[in-house]
């Protein structure tokens, strides 16, 4: 039986606690009285994954069983969440592989020949053939990839986009032509955290810039409170409206999966245990890892983390109509992630780990580090943020000046050109977004190389707009001073320094809450 999450109050007996900080971690002693929010332990997985998948496909929610939707001569499209999920990537076989194989077997049985499989990467970078293979598995890859039937979605391929109409709010719904013209669209999702899935899957994953700009903008995102609660997120409201339009034109069979919190295994297992419960072996692993990482050259350290594969196990799979399926999914996600927290605090502390959705097999540049801390972890709440309005947020990450020219070419320019002019999301949106979105070089790299779309760094910056608006002070511990200054933040050497720096706004004895994340958690702040 897994134990639920809980809130620890730091006292004299509390040992130093793990804080993630990029490609490494610290053991930090927090001030007495600090509240530490621990995620629930990993839920027990489903016993028979194949059986669970078959059950979901044959007994879907508010939909005919999948075999009844399949017929010879039909156009079947299977779309799946791209490499940004789950984090870290899971050990093989990927859950998407198992589901896609099951769907394909049913399709083959029904005599469906016209099948295409699309990575729903929207404006994310294309996946390399190896990355596609890792997700869909060798068998599916070999059967579909060589014939061009397994491919990345291209949001800039004007000939292969279909405008389905507008929502009642005038939002354009433009998605993959293949998906729009299919008799059935099967979407295979990995619902790692509460913001994933639902109408967000198709109406964002297969959409073009024309469509995405209606909800990926500073105004909508500052009013998404939080992203992890679709009922309180303007971005999700927009996606849901688009979903209504989309499902009027396309029959969607949504398959959503949930994973448990079994993130770290092997030598890193101590990272998901509570520190005072570390065994001798855990302590030895921690010490060896810490010393090893400190001594390792940067490249080796990067490789060690890049090679981490999570032990995720399936906790549920639901299929059928999008909204009822997503309700069930969220129930399971909440069971795994939700932790009740009583009230906000003056100071929130977040350790930003080495990985976010957009630097898989890449480097976490300063903008992605900001997005991970202020966009994702800060938004890991339901109800209210863990920090009170105008409180202080303290983040841990080295924030090196490091960019991947292959994956993030427009990020470099965004950092150098845009942020040097303004860090206000609305200002940069008005002045620069269109230029970057329409820059032919970025479009070329997005379509032919492995680059995120030119506009993507703007979206990252919009993701943090709620945190920028809410927090009075944002300080990074152990960060490169120059890079965080460019982003409009401050840098401190230690937690004590950071607390000193924010004392003018929160006083000398502030209430503090530390989100012990990852493994993933969702603070239910009452």
């Amino acid at each position: 039986m897994s134990r639920p999450g809980f809130v620890l109050e730091v006292d004299d007996r509390t040992p130093p606690l793990i804080v993630h900080s990029g490609e490494g971690f610290l053991l930090e002693r927090f001030p007495l009285g600090t509240r530490v929010v621990y995620p629930p332990e990993a839920l027990p997985p489903v016993r028979d994954v194949e059986e669970a998948i078959q059950n979901a496909l044959l007994n879907p929610t508010e939909s005919e069983p999948l075999p009844e939707l399949l017929r010879p001569g039909m156009r079947l499209t299977i779309a799946f969440d791209d490499i940004s999920l789950p984090l870290p990537p899971m050990k093989k076989p990927d859950i998407r592989q198992r589901i896609i194989e099951a769907v394909l077997e049913l399709a083959a049985t029904a005599g469906v020949d016209d099948v295409e499989i699309i990575s729903a990467n929207a404006l994310h970078r294309r996946l390399t053939p190896n990355e596609l293979r890792d997700i869909v598995g060798e068998r599916v890859f070999r059967s579909f990839f060589p014939d061009g039937k397994l491919y990345n979605f291209d949001a800039e391929d004007r000939d292969n986009l279909t405008h389905l109409g507008q929502t009642r709010h005038g939002e354009d719904v433009e998605i993959s032509k293949r998906a729009a013209e299919s008799d059935l669209l099967v979407y295979v999702n990995v619902n790692l955290v509460a913001m994933d899935g639902g109408h967000k899957s198709t109406s964002i994953g297969l959409a073009s810039y024309k469509s995405l700009k209606h909800h990926h903008n500073s105004h909508t995102m500052i009013h998404s409170r939080s992203f992890m609660d679709h009922k309180a997120s303007k971005m999700h409201h927009s996606a849901w409206r688009m979903g209504e339009v989309l499902t009027q034109h396309v029959k969607v069979f949504q398959i959503e999966t949930t994973l448990n919190n079994n993130v770290f295994g092997g030598g890193l297992e101590f990272l998901q245990k509570r520190e005072w419960e570390w065994s001798i072996k855990d302590q030895a692993s921690m010490l060896a890892t810490k010393r090893g990482l400190a001594a390792a050259p940067a490249k080796l350290r990067h490789k060690i983390f890049t090679d981490v594969r999570a032990n995720y196990e399936l906790t549920g799979v639901n299929a059928g109509a999008i909204e009822p399926v997503h309700d069930k999914t969220l129930e399971m996600v909440h069971r795994q992630h939700l932790v009740e927290v009583q009230g906000q605090s003056d100071v929130g502390i977040i350790g930003v780990p080495y990985l976010g959705p957009y630097n898989v097999n890449s480097v976490m540049n300063p903008i992605l580090a900001a997005c991970m801390g202020l966009g994702y972890h800060f938004n890991a709440y339901r109800g209210n943020p863990i920090v009170r309005k105008d409180g202080a947020l303290i983040l841990y990450h080295p924030v090196p000046y490091e960019f991947s020219q292959l994956h993030h070419p427009s990020y470099v320019d965004f950092f150098e050109e845009v942020l040097s002019e303004s860090t206000d999301p609305a200002t940069i949106e008005a002045k620069f977004e269109k230029q970057y979105a329409e820059d032919p070089w970025y479009i070329h790299l997005y379509r032919t190389s492995y680059a995120y779309h030119g506009v993507h760094p703007f979206y990252m910056w919009y993701w943090i707009s709620h945190a920028l608006d809410h927090c009075g002070d944002i300080v990074w511990v152990g960060a490169n001073r120059k890079t965080v200054e460019r982003m409009g933040f401050r840098s401190a050497s230690t937690l004590q320094d950071a607390l000193e720096m924010v004392s003018h706004s929160v006083g000398r004895s502030p209430s503090i809450t530390y989100l012990h994340n990852p493994p993933h958690l969702l603070a239910d702040v009452r």
């Binding site: 470099v412 050109e417 820059d439």
Partner: protein
């Protein structure tokens, strides 16, 4: 007799400066400098149209530094007469009547020693008003020298007295400060550069370098053309600030040129194997105001196909000319300034207008008497880093 700094022939010092000057800058103003402070006879103004001038301020130009440091190409050695008193950026006072200019008039000088000054029949260049293209710079009754400041007979601004021909002189308008007037010669060069660039309305321009040459070129391009976006490559904080004040639309650091130009022009950026990157697309016109191999390489690689590259700095050798061939670039040199520019005025007249109204206060950032020449050269050598645009000799204080 007068006090002057004299450049003299010393192959050993030339070679020493060339060999180690770049690595040990101090040696250029120490034992390896082919420059000395001397007391010599004043130059004579015996022929018609010539007059003596007492320099007030005399700037230190990049070409002067090139002579001191041995980086000037030997190509120019046939067009100078040693020993000579350097200094061609001057504001001074006439010591004699000079045709219509009475004694005591404050003047600036177009330093090119043209056919008119040499007393020979006008060559094709001089006859057409392109006086900077004069073919007779080694003949006539004046010793060889492409300009005053490189000629044995005329003296130069780094001495207490020099001589100049009426064709070279322009009266300084009343009320203009010496600090502004001394900038007229480099401003005239910038005027010439801007007009040689043949800018069409809205065209994008890159100016590589934000020393005096680059900054003044930026100013002239903004004031005299209908250029669109002007991007300036500037290394130091003060240069960045001035570039914007002089009309740059944006300023980039040397290591950001490809990124900055690519962004502003929507060009494609390619990285060849083991070679410097380049753009497909880029600016319409690029002006090199540095002259180094690196800067020339850069401007050639960020100019769009069919574009124009203007070489305003004295060019180094070794630049890769592949883009000139592959991108069909138009390569344009720009030297000194002409009496008849495309705007139908001598460049000096336009320069004096600019000098009167441009934000040039503080541009002459340091003044040294002649006897502190080692400090002056040192300062000029590191001007950008020290936040100075122009270092000048205060000749009267000498």
């Amino acid at each position: 007799m007068m006090l002057a700094l004299e450049m003299y022939r010393s192959p050993a010092k030339f070679l020493a400066a060339k060999a180690v000057g770049g690595r040990i800058p101090g040696i250029l103003t120490g034992p390896a400098a082919p420059l000395r402070l001397v007391t010599i006879n004043e130059p004579k103004a015996e022929r018609e149209g010539w007059a003596r001038i007492r320099p007030i301020l005399s700037g230190i130009c990049g070409s002067d530094l090139g002579m001191v440091t041995g980086s000037t190409k030997l190509y120019f050695s046939a067009m100078v007469s040693m020993p000579f008193v350097p200094g061609h950026e001057i504001v001074g006072e006439l010591l004699d009547d000079c045709e219509d200019l009475p004694k005591g008039t404050k003047v600036v000088m177009d330093s090119v020693l043209t056919c008119a000054a040499r007393g020979v029949e006008p060559c094709q260049g001089c006859a057409s008003g392109n006086t900077n293209r004069c073919d007779r710079i080694t003949v006539g009754h004046v010793a060889p020298g492409l300009q005053t400041g490189f000629c044995q007979d005329t003296g130069g601004g780094w001495g207490n007295v020099m001589v100049a021909h009426r064709s070279q002189l322009y009266a300084v308008p009343d009320g203009m400060s010496d600090e502004r007037a001394v900038l007229t010669e480099p401003l005239a060069c910038a005027v010439h550069t801007a007009l040689r660039a043949k800018v069409e309305p809205g065209q994008s321009i890159l100016v590589s370098g934000a020393g005096a040459v680059g900054l003044f070129a930026t100013l002239a391009l903004r004031e005299l053309t209908q250029a669109g976006r002007i991007t300036v490559v500037a290394k130091h904080a003060k240069q960045r600030e001035l570039a914007r004040a002089f009309g740059a639309s944006d300023v980039v650091a040397p290591d950001e040129v490809f990124r900055g130009v690519r962004r502003s022009t929507g060009a494609f950026r390619l990285k060849p194997e083991m070679a410097k990157e380049f753009l497909l697309g880029g600016v319409d016109i690029a002006v090199d105001a540095v002259g180094s191999k690196d800067s020339i390489d850069t401007v050639l690689r960020v100019t769009k196909a069919g574009g124009r590259v203007v070489l305003s700095g004295m060019p180094a050798s070794g630049a890769d000319l592949s883009p000139v061939w592959f991108r069909e670039l138009e390569l344009t040199g720009t030297y000194a300034s002409a009496r008849e520019e495309p705007n139908d005025k001598p460049a000096f007249e336009t320069a004096l207008e600019l000098a009167a109204k441009a934000p040039l206060d503080g541009i002459v950032g340091a003044r040294y008497p002649l006897y502190r020449w080692r400090e002056a050269i040192d300062h000029a050598h590191s001007a950008g880093r020290l936040g100075t645009v122009k270092v000048a000799f205060d000749v009267r204080a000498s």
